[in-house]
């Protein structure tokens, strides 16, 4: 007869003790497996969420990219042509160009046959003191309206010309001086009739007076000169601002070409902001999921050792009860010549079987609980993704080992039991 037969038959006799031992291993392994499965499920779900957000963002960005292309095609760029010798720092600091360039530049451009420019607005601007109004500071702007392009059918003008003898007033000027359309103002010794009062814009336009370009050139002592050309709604099929600039530079090599705040740029900036916001949303989601995982890890780090310790203590107590119940049996086995080592094997093998059975059942239950409790679809594909052979091997090795370790002290007691004491007492 082999020891295994003795062990198996004893287990069959004391099924309850063995089942209770299995139950404790099952709980410990089940909790461990469920926790690890939940963490894995969390990671998989996190990946899915982030992947979806990333895909959504990319789709949105692609849509915006398409919008951008269409807007470019329809709206074009706004370009500002400045004199070659105009310092940009002065331009941005003062709000207008102090240097000037020949007015016929705009005619040259209008007659060049350029296809990427749709509207041309030449102007001269200068900050002056208004002697007739107590030297208050204003900006005098001369404009001739939109210059027609020789090669294009006439377009609806984006800005109307100011007729000679007329003046258009910015909001601050007419509001503070109590002026209205039809009034006459005297500017630098010349009289102008107010033809329009502009609404409030919150820009330098509020302190600007627009008059005819030729009159302005005359008043400012700069006949035939302008200091800026606005080229509005420039466009090209490739939606490439560089192409438009290149076309203009080829015709007017002596000017600086700057892109000014256009709808396209604003839209592009909005798109960029959306991209940043999307990236931040992904980052926030990642941080949220990471925080949730840390919380679950912390819970598992507390729960698993507690349950494992509890199971070990319970197995130890069950093994001790088993030893006490089998005192007479141990005594006779020793009398029959079984060595201490064999007595230990009887108890430790029992514990190993208990641990193995508990590990197999506990893993199955724990995995099922983890699968069903997670926020993933509980199907075969998810189960396949969450199944970790390493964890199964770990619990199949560790649980029997843990059960054997917990049973070791009672097994030692059994092995060291004095058979004479048992046999003498009958």
């Amino acid at each position: 007869m082999r020891l295994w037969r003795l062990i198996i038959k004893e287990i069959r006799l004391r099924r309850l003790n063995f089942a209770l031992g299995i139950a404790s291993v099952l709980v410990a392994v089940g909790v461990l497996t469920a926790q690890f499965t939940l963490l894995d499920a969390h990671d998989v779900r996190t990946g899915q969420i982030l992947e979806k957000k990333q895909a959504d963002t990319e789709a949105e960005m692609a849509r915006m990219e398409d919008d951008y292309r269409k807007i470019m095609k329809k709206l074009g760029f706004n370009l500002l042509l400045l004199p070659e010798d105009q310092r940009l720092d002065d331009f941005y600091a003062q709000g207008f160009a102090a240097r000037d360039m020949p007015e016929d530049y705009v005619d040259k451009l209008a007659n060049s046959g350029i296809m990427t420019v749709r509207h041309l607005l030449p102007s001269i601007e200068q900050k002056i003191r208004w002697p007739e109004q107590g030297q208050r500071a204003i900006i005098l702007a001369g404009t001739r309206g939109e210059v027609p392009l020789a090669h294009r059918d006439p377009l609806e003008p984006m800005m109307l010309a100011v007729p000679p003898g007329k003046a258009v007033l910015g909001h601050e000027i007419w509001d503070s001086l109590g002026l209205k359309v039809g009034n006459t103002i005297t500017l630098l010794g010349r009289k102008f009739e107010v033809s329009r009062c502009q609404p409030e814009r919150g820009t330098k336009d509020d302190v600007t007076i627009w008059i005819d370009l030729a009159e302005a050139q005359q008043l400012l002592g700069r006949p035939g000169r302008i200091n800026a050309i606005l080229a509005l709604k420039c466009h090209c099929s490739g939606a490439d601002a560089a192409q438009v600039r290149s076309d203009i530079a080829a015709i007017l090599p002596g000017v600086q070409i700057r892109e000014v705040a256009s709808m396209v740029i604003t839209r592009a900036e909005a798109r960029d902001r959306a991209a940043v916001a999307a990236a931040q949303a992904i980052k926030a989601e990642r941080a949220h999921r990471s925080h949730m995982r840390r919380e679950r890890e912390a819970f598992a780090a507390w729960l698993i050792p507690m349950v494992t310790l509890g199971a070990a203590v319970w197995i130890g107590l069950l093994a001790l009860a088993n030893v006490r119940e089998r005192t007479g049996e141990i005594g006779i086995l020793r009398a029959l010549g079984l060595r201490s080592r064999q007595i230990m094997v009887v108890f430790l093998a029992r514990a190993l079987l208990m641990g193995l059975a508990g590990a197999v059942i506990g893993y199955g239950i724990g995995f099922a609980v983890g699968l069903l409790s997670g926020d993933l679809a509980a199907d075969a594909q998810t189960a396949g993704a969450l199944f970790k052979p390493g964890l199964l091997v770990l619990v199949l090795a560790a649980a029997p080992l843990l059960a054997a370790l917990a049973s070791w002290p009672p097994a030692m007691i059994a092995a060291r039991q004095d058979p004479a004491l048992v046999l003498r007492e009958g």
Binding site: K9, G337, S340
Partner: protein, 217 residues
């Protein structure tokens, strides 16, 4: 075969020490059936356990064959018990979840033998237990249990058989049968040391030793 030489054994207790064996010397030769008689508490069981290598004496030596039992390591002593000694107890001490056959085979756990199965079948047949071979002890009569215990003791063909009140729980008929088997073992060349206070053992004994207060008188 079995030689106890000036063996003493005391048990410590809260009320002082009790001298269970007091300089006992006893030899049992091969083929001899020795009965030790005496009243309860005279040290009979202590004598038997000491002879069987299960209870180390305070003084004296125990020889089985030429081997000093308590000069051996625990492992060697266990092997000596498995190969040379057989035990029969009043309470039978059968393993409750094993069948008769498995109980008889239990000594083979300690000393494996190729002939254990055949030997067990032979003993079961000899002791009229064939129809009960697949039963657990709870399903047996007391006589059958004791015969099972005796068959188990004989499985490894021991040289010495140590029996502690083996007839204590048996009716006269079964007691007689058991004593007959012990005598048969002795006739076959084995040494039997039987401790009892039953008169029936006298008929089978080659020698009767009387114990009183830990001494052979």
């Amino acid at each position: 075969m079995l030689d106890l030489n000036q063996v003493s054994k005391s048990y410590g207790g809260s009320n002082g020490s009790v001298r269970a064996l007091d300089g006992v010397s006893l030899k049992v030769k091969a083929g001899e059936f020795v009965v030790v008689r005496g009243p309860s508490g005279c040290g009979k069981t202590t004598l038997l356990l000491t002879a069987g290598g299960l209870l180390a004496p305070d003084q004296g030596r125990v020889l089985v064959g030429e081997r000093d039992v308590y000069g051996l390591s625990l492992e060697e002593r266990a092997r000596l018990r498995a190969e040379t000694l057989g035990f029969v107890f009043q309470q039978f001490h059968l393993i409750p979840y094993l069948t008769v056959l498995e109980n008889v085979l239990a000594p083979s756990l300690a000393a494996r033998s190729d002939e254990a199965g055949a030997r067990a079948d032979e003993l079961i047949a000899r002791f009229n237990l064939s129809s009960r071979a697949g039963h657990v002890p709870a399903a047996l009569s007391t006589g059958e249990r004791q015969r099972t215990a005796l068959a188990r003791a004989l499985l490894n063909r021991p040289k010495v058989l140590l029996a502690d009140e083996p007839t204590g729980n048996l009716d006269p008929e079964n007691a007689s049968i058991l004593l007959g088997h012990l005598a048969e073992f002795a006739r076959a060349g084995g040494a039997v040391l039987l401790v009892t206070h039953a008169d029936a053992a006298k008929e089978h004994a080659d020698r009767i030793v009387q114990m009183q207060e830990g001494k052979i008188v």
